[in-house]
Assembly symmetry: C2
Homo-oligomer: 182 residues x 2
């Protein structure tokens, strides 16, 4: 394991890029935490669709009517997390989130495979009480498709080894990297 | 897959109990989300140490000096999450969290295995910048040991199958269970 924080950060972005590329990798599924509209923290699984290490952005797809979109409209800050067991690496991120939809998301929608499109436009909207477990429809509705573009501003990495190593990186510091007590 | 919400809830608690019992199970590692002291959501991996389906509580161990303890002192509400791939089940929980330490945590400390005790009492405290990645000590300090006792108040379950099923349960409704659009 490295004593150079820049190498640890590069390794984390490589794991994220691998997750975006293939569902065989741990970082395919992230947890996304937000502050809920009632003040409770909220956390759920999301699928990482794109990772851009150069820009420091991650893309997630969601239904425009989902609770997380409402929460991010009120406070556009998310925490993202993955525990990558193979790399013994916990990746924690803070990101400012822009919600793209309509024409701004049209190019992304065009790349969503047909079966996956059914995940967008659930009626009634996600989270609505229904009288029976399957009392909903899934029309593939491009108007319900949204991209959460997450601009990472802080990265907190914890590598578990014989001795643990933890480092924090901030966009505002040009990703310099500080070691932290784990 | 069941059309009885009570059976879905029982299945979720069984997965949580299995996670508390053995590290071979998915629900051994949960993610815990809090609202940070700067207003950002925070999320990290935690180890599930005990699950009590009857009382509806989950126990997690942490360092009393960790950021999550400070965050929970300010707002004692947590969201907990696990994606159990084997069961195709996402478990999301809201819990009110009590932080137990000192005499209130002594019985739990007595059951922590020797090597695991080194996780408590890191100096300098967790999250403190250090000049090199291993510039910290890990004395096994019982005064730094804390139990997060999470009293679950809401459960949101999503089963991914040929068609998805989602249900929400609230302690205030005596865990009755409502189906939701997924």
């Amino acid at each position: 394991m490295t004593d150079d924080p820049a190498r640890l950060l590069a390794a984390a972005w490589a794991r994220l890029a691998a997750g975006a590329a293939s569902s065989a990798n741990a970082a395919r599924l992230l947890t996304l935490a937000t502050v809920g509209t009632t003040g409770w923290p909220e956390v759920r699984t999301v699928v990482l669709r794109r990772a851009d290490p150069t820009a420091g952005t991650l893309d997630i797809h969601t239904d425009l009517a989902s609770a997380k979109v409402k929460e991010l409209a009120a406070l556009p800050r998310a925490a993202l997390h993955v525990w990558d067991a193979e790399a013994s690496l916990q990746i924690r991120l803070h990101a400012e989130v822009a919600v793209l939809s309509g024409p701004d998301a049209a190019a992304d929608w065009a790349r969503v495979p047909g079966p996956s499109r059914l995940g967008y436009g659930v009626r009634p909207p996600p989270g609505t009480p229904i009288p029976a477990p399957l009392a909903y429809d899934r029309p593939a509705d491009p108007a319900a498709f949204a991209v959460l573009r997450c601009r990472v501003v802080e990265v907190d990495l914890l590598h578990l080894g014989e001795r643990h190593r933890r480092a924090r990186f901030r966009r505002a510091d040009d990703w310099r990297g500080d070691w932290l007590a784990p």
